[in-house]
Every structure is written in structure tokens, then in C-alpha cells.
Amino acid sequence: MDITVPNPGLPLTSSDMVVEDRQRHLFRVARRAFTDEEVLEQERRQIFDRCWLYLGHGSEIRNTCDFVTRAVGGRELIFNRDRGGAVHAFLNTCPHRGAMVVREKKGNALSFRCFYHGWSFNVNGRFASRFEEGNYGKEHYGGGCADLTQVPRLESYRDFWFVNFDRNAVSLSDYLAGAKEYIDLVADQGEAEMEIVGSGQQYIINANWKLLAENSIDAFHGFPVHSTYFDYLQNIGSLRSDGFNAKGMTSLGNGHAVIEYASPWGRPIARWVPSWGEEKRELVERIRQGLIQRFGEERGLRIAETSRNMVIFPNLVINDIMAITVRTFYPDAANRMTVSAWALGARDEDHELRKLRLFNFLEFLGPGGFATPDDQEALENCQRGYRNQREAAWNDISKGMPRVGPPKNDDEEQMRCFWRQWRQRMAGAV
């Protein structure tokens, strides 16, 4: 042990919780950042109240008057399409006395009605009740004070809809920065458009939310944690060993980062593996040729062949791996998060291919998959291990720092991108 490089002292403020020493190739994050409720409160104000947060995909409210309700950034929201087709995000609280106006998870409605006192609203948010004269004045009818409150900012990119609670935030397009290119690689997979398939998966992990942000783009843990998954691929003849060589990672700006690599697994779009059987081979090959036709050899094969794990700061993951998962998570407490995960596929997808996509999704992903539960186990073990932080106070995120040349995808530079942004945001410097 190198006693000349002692750990920093116990951090007092969040900006002391991320320590980068480029000369000595050391990057440390205080474990307190994962456990302290005051840190979480500061994250709510500096990060979740000010960053663009994923709300949902346009396909979830495809028809006019469709709605879904969703917790985002600690708020309760209504995400809906009005009679004219315009998309809205409302705070799901009655302007009258605060009850949640819509209580179903999803549906289609011509108007919303609060069950508490019966105030009702058009799906564009306007107060629609007509009480007898003498009950309410002009400010209620047309004055706006009885309308549903809109989320301050709502913008979309390629039908991925985001909200921002900071009226003065930069545009979504500027915020996404380099991430747009990688959203394109997903959004371009459908000839028509992409859609969320079925309903999503919702589950709890007893760990700090940032552990999942790190884990979602961490290639270093792949073999140690997921050896049983790779054994499975091997057993069924699906492991394509030409895969998984590190292609590298890209910092996408604003704390977003992506790793990209040759896939060891099959991809419904569009990388066939023997366990799918010969009859699927032609189908997958057709998709592959279609991609090459539409986007040229290089980009077409990039979409078909390579896998990508991306984090859009702070809490959106789009992993285009053996299937596409869109995943967001929010802290209920410093040591607990709720995760929402969805499968994304092409809207015009062939029935057999769709079946394959969902089958493939479940081999790795989700609470019943062969990999995700072991990630959860790792995250929950970290959280538990942080009980030792008074004596063992720091995480090490230094892998790859001395490397000359571009970082590899199983380095930890992508996490360092996240943490640098976290530190800046927490200091109010962004």
C-alpha cells in the first residue's frame, strides 16, 4: 500500500466529495455522497430542479386525448395529448385544494375531473367547470387561476419528451449536446417511428440513485458480475466471440457519456445468432440490408452490429444492447430509488422480430433477467458497505487515468464525466 498517497480527509461539502488529481491519476468520490440526506436535498434543488428530465416517449400517448401519469423529479405529472394533438405536461394537482386530479396510470379521456370537489379541466388544462353565478369570478373563468399548472418547460427530441422545472434552462437540444447523435442511432432503427412496447417494468433498488447511473455505463463490471449470463449465451450457442472488444467511450458533454462496443450477443436489429434458428436468419438479414440501404454501409452496420450504453445526466439511460431499454430512476431516499424501465422497438416491426426482441430483452434485462438482478445485488452491497465510511470513506474511480490515447470502454472515464458534472451542478456552477 502506498502510504505516501493518503486518502483525502472526510469531506464537509459536496464540492469536496469529488477529488480529481490528474498528476497522480487519482479520482475519488466520497461515500457520503451516496448516503447523506442533506446531499440528496441539495441534489433535488441543484440537479433535479434544474436539469432536463425524461418524461416519456410520444408513442405512449399516440392518440389524441391519451394520457399517462408519472412521477418525475419528485413531482406527480400528467403527460398527455390534447384534442388538437398538442402534447402537454401538467402538474397533477388540483388548483383548488391540491388533490391529484388523475389517478389512473394511463387512459384516454376527453376531460379530467378532480374527484374531491368536482373541478374539471379540458385536456389542454383549462378550467372547464361551470358553477352557478356567484360561486366564482372572472379570474377562474378564463383568468387562468383555476387551470392546471403546466410544467415550466417541455421539449422533445426524436419523440423522447423531457421536462425542466427551471424556466431559464438552456434548450433541450443544447442540453443533450452530443447525446443527440446516439439518440438518432436508436430512433433511426424504425422506418416509420419507434414505440414503447407494452407497459414498462417498475421496481425498487435499495441503493443510491447514482450507483445505477454508474452501473449502467460500466463495462468493467461486465465479466465479474455477469459471468452466468455469458455462460448462458455460450450454452445455447448465442455467444459471438468476435464481440466485446472495447471500442471506447465518448464524452457527450454536460455529464452525458456513452460506451460503444462490438456485441457479444444477438441483436434483433440486426445481428443474428445461431440459437434463434435458421428461419430467423433471413428476417434479421433483411433488416440489416435495409439499414445499409438507408444509411450506407458504415452507419448501417454501426446500427446493426454495435452495442451502446448511454447515460444522459442525471438519470436517463438508453442502452441499445441485446434489446433497447430506456430506463430512468429517482431517489425516494438517499439509500433507495424507484426504477422505471421500458422496451423500445420499431413501430412497424415484424411480429416475429418483436417477439424475438422481447425474448432477448428478458434474457439479460429486468428484475427477472439473467443479469440485472446481479447488478442490483452489487448496488445494494455497495450501499451496505458504505456503513463503513467513517473509516473507509472513498470510492476509487481512477481506472484508465494513466492511459495514453483515448479511453477504453472498460475504463472509468465515463463515470468521471458524470461526477465532474455532478460536482459542478452541486456547486451551482452550471
Binding site: 407494452g198 407497459s199 421496481y203 455462460d231 445455447i236 418483436r354 428478458l362 428484475p367 445485488e377
Partner: protein, 173 residues
């Protein structure tokens, strides 16, 4: 669903003896899971069998070809699930959790050609590292009572939970 028509095997769905035998069979299954005798548990399944856990909050008729399940195993993947769970590297079940499977409200909902459709309520407890998870809902079985020994042709565990509070679904509920 099977119709209650074919009596050639002498099985009818309101036969209390048959129900008692089915209950015994399900108790055996539960015991094998409780004791982590998971390879013996897998041997209860017929070749080509399926094992499914549909998404929470979806209807019972959900189809894994169009809807995102938690688990949708064909026979091969179910076998691989069992193989995985026998390994120390299935980290979420190492050290192994403790489980207890309770079933009740067993009903035979249909029978044809010796194959019974059976439903029952379940609650499964899983304890690990000071945390007790509970999973509850309804199992839907198709059991081949004409085979010897009996074989499960399909098992679908429909959770009655509105979200997956325990986070993981690593054990067989």
C-alpha cells in the same frame, strides 16, 4: 382453456380426489423450491414447457410476444435459469436466500385429455440479509395428469402487486 368434456381418463374437474392429488403435487413443488432442490423442481416440467411472470398491472391474458414480461422462459431458458441459480456467481442468490412458498385456493378450472388447468393463490416469502420480500398473486398451471409422473406443461405466476417492490425476481415464486 380446456373444456370439461373428455372423460376418457376418468378425470373430471369437480372430483375432490383429483383436487387433493393436485394439491399434493403443488405442495411437493413448493417444498422443492423451499429447499432449493431446484434441479428436481425443473424435472417436474414437461419438455417444451413454459414459465412466465407477466408484468404487474397487466391483464391475465398478456402475451409475451407483444408485452414486456418480467419472465418469459421457454423450456431451454428455464433450464438455463435453473443452471444459473445453482452457481455461486448468480450473485443475487449468493449466499442463498431463504424462501417459503404458501399456496391456497386451489381450483381445477378445466380438464381435457387428462390435462388439468389449475389456479391457486400464492404468497412467497424471501429473506436475505435482514430484508424480507413478499411476492403474492395467482399461479395458473397446466398439468399433464396423464403423464407418469405428472408433468407441468406451463406455469404462469400473475403477481397481484402494482409494482415489483422487492426489485428482484431471482427466485421462482
Amino acid at each position: 382453456m380446456n373444456a370439461d368434456s373428455n372423460l376418457s381418463h376418468g378425470l373430471v374437474k369437480d372430483d375432490p380426489v383429483l383436487r387433493a392429488r393436485i394439491e399434493d403435487f403443488l405442495y411437493l413443488e413448493a417444498d422443492l423450491l423451499d429447499e432449493w432442490r431446484i434441479e428436481e423442481w425443473f424435472a417436474l416440467f414437461a419438455e417444451g414447457a413454459t414459465y412466465e411472470v407477466p408484468p404487474t398491472g397487466d391483464d391475465k391474458e398478456a402475451d409475451p410476444a407483444t408485452s414486456l414480461f418480467y419472465i418469459a422462459d421457454d423450456y431451454v431458458r428455464l433450464r438455463e435459469r435453473v443452471v444459473r441459480l445453482t452457481k455461486k456467481e448468480a450473485h443475487s442468490e449468493f449466499p442463498r436466500s431463504q424462501q417459503r412458498h404458501m399456496i391456497s385456493n386451489v381450483r381445477i378450472t378445466g380438464i381435457a385429455a387428462g390435462v388439468a388447468d389449475v389456479s391457486c393463490n400464492f404468497i412467497t416469502y424471501r429473506a436475505k440479509r435482514g430484508v424480507v420480500d413478499s411476492y403474492y398473486g395467482k399461479h395458473l398451471y397446466r398439468i399433464d395428469c396423464a403423464a407418469s409422473p405428472w408433468k407441468i406443461k406451463s406455469k404462469r405466476s400473475v403477481l397481484s402487486m402494482d409494482m415489483l417492490y422487492p426489485g428482484k425476481l431471482t427466485i421462482i415464486v
